[in-house]
């Protein structure tokens, strides 16, 4: 029963690695879709008409005021009931995190584009740039520099929040940890490892965000 720590480790680590793989897969997919969706949101929020902006606002508020956990339950249990759609828990988690992340990234992108002086837009138009060229060469690159630090912070929040997926039955790193603890009672060791895992994934991001902020802070 009371096996040595090194034995516990050799048993736990491979299992935890599989769970960590799931956590990272969910997070990376969610981050990817959140980024794409967020850029689309930001551009639409600036360019779109009243109706589009109203819908985006509604979407944003829904994700702001309703906890991510509630969204997870709603999608996971609601889709089969209301739409007869049976989506695996893994993809439910990706979907919810991506939608939530996109609303957060989108607001950052919108704010960044708005903060670029209107003059940049007019200077681009006056040169004869099309809307697409204006965004591609002038507005988005400038927005990107301003937005990267806050966006990276959102990424770390997505990674951390992915742990909620355990509650709809996704076997990710925390679930694996709990399973090991149930069998070995080595809770301190396992939670220590989980702590280390999230720290090692998120701290470099946090560091990079701060670096870029300093580096680009006075660039634009």
């Amino acid at each position: 029963m009371a096996s040595s720590i090194s034995e516990q480790l050799t048993q736990a680590l491979p299992l935890l690695a599989v769970g960590a793989g799931q956590t990272l897969a969910i997070s990376l997919l969610a981050i990817l879709f959140a980024t794409l969706g967020g850029v689309a949101y930001g551009v639409l929020a600036q360019q779109g008409g009243r109706l589009v902006r109203g819908l985006l606002r509604l979407y944003l508020e829904l994700f702001r005021v309703v906890p991510v956990l509630v969204w997870l339950y709603l999608i996971f249990f609601g889709l089969p009931i209301f739409f007869g759609l049976d989506m695996p828990a893994f993809w439910c988690a990706v979907l919810v995190l991506a939608l939530w992340g996109a609303s957060e990234v989108g607001e950052v992108v919108r704010g960044g584009l708005n903060s670029l002086a209107r003059g940049q837009q007019e200077a681009g138009l006056a040169l004869g740039l099309s809307t697409w060229q204006l965004y591609r060469h002038v507005l988005l690159p400038q927005a990107l520099q301003r937005l990267t630090p806050p966006t990276i912070n959102i990424y770390t929040r997505i990674i951390k929040t992915s742990s909620l997926a355990v509650l709809i039955g996704v076997v990710e790193v925390i679930k694996v940890g709990q399973q090991i603890i149930e069998r070995t009672y080595g809770s301190l060791l396992i939670y220590g490892l989980l702590f280390l895992f999230f720290f090692l994934v998120c701290y470099p991001l946090s560091l990079a965000s701060r670096r870029l902020e300093q580096q680009w802070g006075n660039a634009v």
């Binding site: 002086a117 200077a123 138009l125 006056a126 040169l127 004869g128 740039l129 060469h137 002038v138």
Partner: protein
């Protein structure tokens, strides 16, 4: 000869404010027009209607005989009517050279080698070719002249200058005005909004004086400055010569 630019009764409103009230003006090719007037008289707005940055609510604008309206391909027109702004608006994410080449390469789809040659000539002329790989923030001055080169590299027929020296340090003003004077001498059509009265007098073929959204006077420079017809123009000139005196006293 048909005028290059012709405005017929152009009106522009911002909400309830009538900023341009039935403005009519015709500009011949090669003419240098300086638009003067107190702040808020609509002179900047007038320039901005000419390249579609401000849509108009009444009247018509013709460029080279063609009506400019909601259906106009403004991207095409803007390649022929360049504009330079008060706070230059260089793109901070691009180097000097990239700023200048963006329009020629992306909008006009010109050969890089050919556009580069023109950029070199223009930047050399203003003495900033050596700084071509710098970003705008790395320059201590010359941003406005680069903005002018950026517009010129599109080979426009008309250039619009919107108070381009108003935000500059005094020592930079001269350099920018010289570039514009060279352009005026080269036969390009220019519409210039400025508060530099001495410059206006030296460079203009015609002064257009605006107040309250109207054109009150159009005259040759010597006529306008020596014998302004309207009361408003006389007040305007008196006020400016007064502030010029103050300025000179301060700098002395």
């Amino acid at each position: 000869m048909t005028p290059l630019l012709e405005l017929g009764s152009v009106s522009k409103q911002f909400g309830p404010n009538l900023v341009l009230d039935r403005i009519s003006l015709s500009v011949r090719a090669g003419e240098v027009i300086v638009i003067l007037g107190p702040s808020g008289c609509g002179k900047s707005t007038l320039l901005r209607t000419l390249n579609g940055l401000e849509p108009i609510q009444g009247g018509e604008i013709r460029f080279d005989g063609v009506l400019l309206d909601g259906a106009t391909d403004w991207q095409r027109v803007r390649q022929r009517i360049g504009m330079v702004f008060q706070s230059y608006h260089l793109f901070p994410n691009l180097t000097v050279l990239e700023n200048v080449l963006l329009g020629p390469l992306q909008v006009q789809k010109r050969e890089r080698a050919e556009a580069l040659l023109q950029a070199e000539q223009l930047l050399t002329r203003i003495g900033l070719w050596e700084r071509r790989h710098d970003y705008p923030r790395q320059l201590s001055g010359g941003q406005q002249r680069i903005a002018i080169v950026r517009a010129l590299c599109m080979n426009p027929q008309v250039m619009l200058f919107d108070e381009v020296t108003a935000a500059l340090d005094p020592e930079m003003v001269q350099e920018v005005l010289e570039v514009i004077r060279d352009l005026a001498g080269s036969g390009m059509t220019l519409l210039i909004v400025t508060h530099e009265l001495a410059f206006a007098r030296a460079v203009a073929d015609r002064i257009v004086f605006m107040d309250g959204g109207h054109i009150l006077e159009q005259a040759a420079p010597h006529q306008f400055f020596d014998n302004p017809r309207s009361q408003r123009a006389r007040q305007f000139l008196a006020k400016f010569s007064y502030t010029n005196v103050i300025k000179r006293k301060e700098s002395a």
